[in-house]
C-alpha cells in the first residue's frame, strides 16, 4: 500500500514537471530547423540570442517596473484600507469585504475587459494618451489590492486592540502610535501581501492583455512569441525564469526555516 502511494505521488510529480523539463532540455538544442522534438546537439546559442533581443529586454524592464510600482502602491493603499476596514462597524465592513472579494471571484477576463472599456472611454473623454504603461499600472494595482488586504487583515485581528489605545493613553499622538505600535505588529502580513502583489503582477497575462495597448510586458511578449513563430528562444527564456524562481523560493524557504528554528530555540530557552 505504501509503495502504491509513493508511485502515485511520483507519477503526479512527473505530470507536473515533465513539461518544464522538456522546455529546459530543448533550450540547449542545437538545430537549424527549430524542430521542437529532435535533439541534435548541445548549444548555448538561444541564450545568446535571448540576451541580445532588444524586445525581450524592453519587455522585461516594463514588467519589473510595473511590478515594483504597483506592488508598492497596492501595499500602501491596501494596508491603509485594511486598518480602516478593521475599525468599521459590521454592516459597512461587510460591504467593503464584498467589494474586496469581488475581483478575486470574478473571471479575470471580465475584469480585464471591463477595465479596457473604462480606459478606452476615459481616453475618449479626456483626450489623454492611449492605453499603455499607466493603464497597466492602474490595472495591476487594482487586482493586487485584495490580496494585500486579505493578508494584512488577519494580522490586525490577531493584534490586541488595547495596545494602540494604551500608547495613546501614554501620550503618543495617533499617527506616531500607529507607526510605533500597530505597524510592527502587522509587518509580516504587509510583507507577505507585497510579495504576493509583486509576483501576481509579474505573472499576469489576461488583465494585461486587455489593458496594455501596444506596451509589451514579458507575458504578453511570450504570448506573441508562441503565436508568431516557433523559436527555442522561448525555451531559453523559460529556463532562465525557472532557475530564478527556484533560487528565490529556496532562499525564502531557507530563511523561513532558519527563523522558525531560532524561534523554537528562543522558546526552549524560556
Amino acid at each position: 500500500m505504501k509503495i502504491l502511494l509513493k508511485i502515485y505521488t511520483a507519477l503526479l510529480f512527473v505530470f507536473l514537471y515533465a513539461p518544464i523539463l522538456v522546455l529546459i532540455v530543448f533550450s540547449f538544442n542545437d538545430t537549424q530547423t527549430s524542430s521542437r522534438t529532435q535533439f541534435s546537439g548541445f548549444t548555448l546559442r538561444w541564450y545568446e540570442r535571448l540576451f541580445e533581443d532588444r524586445y525581450i529586454l524592453e519587455a522585461l524592464f516594463n514588467t519589473l517596473l510595473i511590478a515594483v510600482v504597483s506592488a508598492v502602491c497596492a501595499t500602501v493603499l491596501g494596508t491603509l484600507a485594511a486598518v480602516g476596514i478593521n475599525r468599521l462597524k459590521k454592516l459597512p465592513r461587510r460591504v467593503m469585504m464584498n467589494i474586496t472579494n469581488f475581483p478575486m471571484v470574478n473571471p479575470e477576463i471580465v475584469t480585464g475587459v471591463s477595465m479596457m472599456l473604462l480606459f478606452v472611454a476615459a481616453t475618449g473623454l479626456f483626450g489623454g494618451k492611449n492605453l499603455g504603461m499607466w493603464t497597466l499600472i492602474i490595472a495591476h494595482i487594482t487586482f493586487c489590492l485584495p490580496y494585500v488586504i486579505l493578508s494584512v487583515l488577519p494580522k490586525l485581528r490577531q493584534m490586541n486592540p488595547n495596545l494602540y489605545e494604551a500608547a495613546q493613553d501614554l501620550g503618543c499622538p495617533p499617527i506616531p502610535a500607529f507607526f510605533k505600535v500597530v505597524l510592527p505588529e502587522i509587518m509580516p502580513g504587509i510583507i507577505t501581501g507585497m510579495i504576493m502583489a509583486f509576483t501576481l503582477s509579474i505573472d499576469d497575462f489576461v488583465i494585461s492583455y486587455f489593458t496594455s495597448g501596444t506596451t509589451q510586458t514579458l507575458p504578453i511578449y511570450i504570448y506573441t512569441m508562441t503565436r508568431r513563430r516557433i523559436s527555442p528562444e522561448i525555451n531559453a527564456l523559460s529556463t532562465v525564469l525557472f532557475v530564478c524562481i527556484m533560487a528565490l523560493l529556496i532562499l525564502i524557504n531557507v530563511r523561513q526555516s532558519k527563523a522558525e528554528k531560532e524561534q523554537r530555540e528562543k522558546g526552549d530557552a524560556r
Binding site: 505521488t9 510529480f13 475581483p103 477576463i109 505573472d203
Partner: protein
C-alpha cells in the same frame, strides 16, 4: 476617533473607480447598441452561442472533476507525510505555478503534437501514433495541468488540520477505513473541496489561451469569444460585454450553489456538536 473613516476613503474611491464603474460600463455596453441607444439585441444574440457556453461549462466541469480526483489523494498523502517533508512537498506542488502559464501550456504543445514527444515515445515502444493536439481532450489536459495546484493546496490545508484523534476515535468505534474516509475525513474536508472546486472551475470556464493553444480552432470557449469581440477580428464590444455579463452571472450562480452546499455542511457539523 474621527479620522477612522478617512483611512478607508482612498481605497473606496479606487475600487469605485476601477471595479464598480467598469462593471457598470460592461452592463451599459451590454444593453446598448453602437449609437448608445437601449437594446436587448446583444443579450438575445448571446443565445446563438449557447453551444460555446455549454462546451466551456462541460470542459471546465470535467477538468474540475479530474483535478479533484487526482488532487485529493495527493493532498491527503502530503497531509499525512512526515511534518519535515510536508513543506518541501507543498513547495514542489507550487513551484510549477510560478512559471508563466503560457510557457507551461507551450510545453504541452511540444509534447502533444502529431510529431511531438509523446508520439515519438509511442512509436518507439511500437504503439500507433495518437492524434492529441487540437482536441477537446488536450484542452481539458491543459486546464488540469494549469489549475490542479489550486485544488491540491486548499485540500491540503484542510486535511492537515484534521485532528488524528478524531480518526482514531472512529476506528476505535469500529469503522473500517472506507467508512472512516466517507463519514469522517471527507465531510471534514468539505470546505477545502469547495474552495478547490471554485478555484479550478472559475478560471477553467473562462480561459481563452489554453483553448487557443491546445484546442486549435475547433474548440472555441467563452473566453475566446469575448477576446474576439474586443481585440480580435469580430470587433463588437457591445456583444462582447453581453457575453461577459452572461459569463459573470453563470459563475456567480455556480458560486452561490457551492456556498449553499458549504453552509449546509457547517450547519450539520454545528448541530452535531
Amino acid at each position: 476617533m474621527r479620522n477612522n473613516k478617512l483611512i478607508c476613503a482612498p481605497y473606496t474611491v479606487w475600487m469605485t473607480l476601477f471595479i464598480i464603474v467598469p462593471m457598470g460600463l460592461v452592463a451599459f455596453f451590454a444593453f446598448t447598441d453602437r449609437s448608445g441607444a437601449f437594446t436587448l439585441h446583444n443579450i438575445a444574440q448571446v443565445g446563438q452561442y449557447s453551444n460555446v457556453f455549454l462546451r466551456s461549462i462541460w470542459l471546465g466541469a470535467i477538468a474540475t472533476a479530474v483535478s479533484l480526483l487526482l488532487g485529493y489523494p495527493l493532498a491527503y498523502i502530503i497531509a499525512r507525510a512526515n511534518p519535515s517533508r510536508q513543506s518541501a512537498l507543498v513547495m514542489l506542488v507550487m513551484l510549477p505555478m510560478w512559471m508563466n502559464f503560457l510557457l507551461r501550456t507551450y510545453a504541452w504543445m511540444t509534447l502533444l503534437e502529431d510529431n511531438g514527444l509523446l508520439n515519438a515515445l509511442l512509436t518507439a515502444v511500437g504503439l500507433p501514433r495518437l492524434h492529441m493536439i487540437n482536441t477537446a481532450g488536450a484542452v481539458v489536459l491543459g486546464m488540469v495541468y494549469n489549475y490542479i495546484p489550486y485544488m491540491i493546496l486548499p485540500l491540503y490545508s484542510v486535511l492537515t488540520k484534521i485532528d488524528p484523534s478524531v480518526i482514531e476515535a472512529a476506528q476505535d468505534l469500529g469503522a473500517d477505513s472506507k467508512k472512516v474516509f466517507l463519514k469522517v475525513i471527507f465531510p471534514m474536508s468539505m470546505p477545502g473541496v469547495i474552495s478547490g472546486v471554485t478555484m479550478v472551475f472559475v478560471p477553467a470556464v473562462s480561459t481563452f489561451i489554453i483553448s487557443k493553444m491546445l484546442g486549435g480552432g475547433g474548440n472555441l470557449l467563452i473566453g475566446d469569444l469575448i477576446d474576439m469581440q474586443f481585440l480580435g477580428s469580430a470587433y463588437n464590444p457591445n456583444l462582447g460585454s453581453a457575453i461577459s455579463l452572461v459569463l459573470m452571472v453563470i459563475i456567480l450562480i455556480c458560486m452561490g450553489i457551492m456556498n449553499q452546499f458549504d453552509d449546509g455542511e457547517e450547519v450539520g457539523g454545528g448541530m452535531l456538536l
